[in-house]
């Protein structure tokens, strides 16, 4: 997705006002600058007329000018990705990039070239999810990876012998990146789609649902996961803090889930439920 960068030259007294006004017309984020503020909006939502009317509104109170330009989509995370360190999960799985040498000393080896998507095993939540996956059987199971990022959890499911793995993400980069990583890992049983859980095409049910997202999305979607898992189905969750466990657990219990496992890497937590 391309973005518009709007550079506003305005005295400090008015820069927060401009931010509040621009946020109301769809600007998502801002960078404070020496001359005022830069605002950013997806290019297809940009309407210069609206910006002009905002600056006009304050023009008799202060000096204010703006320019804008298009920023093409590209991999902004490339700098970190090209030098990331391999990581070992649960003493059983090596996660590395294709530019690292393989070790052949661990039962599982996952190759991830992340390309601006989440999931390399370095973040506590990814490590917790992978550790939980290592502790449950995937053999012959049907697995769903919700908000798959790099596809790392789906790949682990393939390597652990899952019969079928469906993955999806709302982000176009993640979809493209999962496809590449599935190929790098010869993950032939995995498929990838773009969209939300309410938009993508899913099987009627799964044996395991994996979701490393965040508290708010999980609280919204746990009832949907419940409809996809028959009795005995496993739900593996992460992306939230230890202090959020009570909320997640209490909603899950109303949906017929019982807690089977809890892992913490401060401040992050993960839970395993069984229906």
């Amino acid at each position: 997705m391309d973005f518009i960068e709007l550079k506003v030259t305005v005295p400090p007294d008015f820069s927060d006002i401009l931010i509040a006004e621009l946020a109301e017309i769809g600007f998502e984020s801002f960078l404070d600058t020496d001359y005022g503020v830069d605002g950013y909006i997806p290019a297809h939502l940009f309407d210069e007329q609206q910006v002009a009317s905002i600056t006009e509104k304050y023009s008799h109170l202060t000096a204010i000018t703006y320019t804008f330009s298009i920023i093409k989509r590209r991999n902004w995370n490339e700098e970190w990705e090209k030098s990331y360190e391999p990581i070992i999960i649960g003493n059983q799985c090596l996660v590395r990039a294709s530019f690292h040498d393989g070790l052949g000393t661990y039962p599982y080896e996952i190759i991830i070239n992340p390309k601006m998507s989440f999931g390399t095993g370095h973040h506590e939540t990814t490590a917790l999810m992978l550790e939980n996956q290592l502790a449950i059987s995937h053999t012959g199971k049907r697995v769903l990876d919700v908000g798959c990022g790099t596809g790392i959890l789906a790949i682990m499911a393939c390597k652990r012998g899952a019969a079928k793995v469906d993955a999806f993400d709302i982000d176009e980069w993640a979809v493209e990146n999962s496809r590449e990583n599935f190929e790098l890992n010869s993950c032939n049983t995995a498929t990838i789609q773009q969209g939300t859980i309410r938009e993508v095409k899913l099987a009627p049910n799964y044996d395991i649902v994996l979701a490393n997202i965040n508290r708010n999305v999980l609280l919204d979607e746990i009832p949907v996961y419940a409809t996809l898992l028959p009795a005995g189905g496993k739900l593996l969750l992460s992306g939230f803090y230890e202090k959020d466990i009570a909320d997640i657990e209490s909603l899950a219990s109303t949906q017929g889930f019982s807690k089977r496992e809890q892992r913490i890497k401060q401040p992050w937590a993960s839970l395993v439920f069984e229906k």
Partner: protein, 147 residues
């Protein structure tokens, strides 16, 4: 040994909505920081304030690690929320498009106090009321120190 600071960045991002697009992507990515890690942390820490603009001050180090502090939302954002209006008035002095009470001014000032070192509440309230007026939003009633 203490880590060596390479620089600082100040962004304003909607709570729970950080993603690797600009400005986060280019601003952090060009320093070699892991953008995805920042987004995951920021979104979890701001989940109670989803959708609200929040200033975030990022300190980044020579070893490509970073830390960040989330500040209170800008006063104009809180004022707009309190007045429940979309955008300030097109003519701030003549055509008032919204109003807030002195109680709301006080609440906003109290919210902002942690970021206004050593300010007295009354000074913070005067600042908030002044900002509201600049945006064409009336403050109704008498200021507490006037009654």
């Amino acid at each position: 040994m203490a880590k060596e600071v390479l620089g600082y960045l100040k962004l304003q991002v909607k709570g729970g909505a950080a993603n690797p697009s600009p400005p986060i992507g280019p601003a952090l990515g060009s320093k070699g920081l892991n953008i995805m890690e920042f987004c995951k942390q920021f979104n979890a820490r701001t989940q109670e304030k989803a959708g609200q603009i929040l200033p975030v001050l990022i300190t980044y180090y020579t070893d490509k690690s970073f830390e960040f502090v989330i500040k209170t939302p800008p006063a104009p954002v809180l004022i707009m929320d309190a007045a429940k209006i979309k955008g300030g008035s097109a003519e701030p002095n003549r055509n008032k498009v919204g109003s807030i009470t002195w109680d709301q001014v006080k609440t906003i000032a109290q919210t902002k106090m942690p970021d206004l070192n050593a300010f007295k509440l009354e000074s913070a309230m005067k600042m908030v009321a002044g900002t509201a007026r600049s945006m064409g939003i009336t403050v109704t009633g008498n200021a507490p120190w006037e009654s």
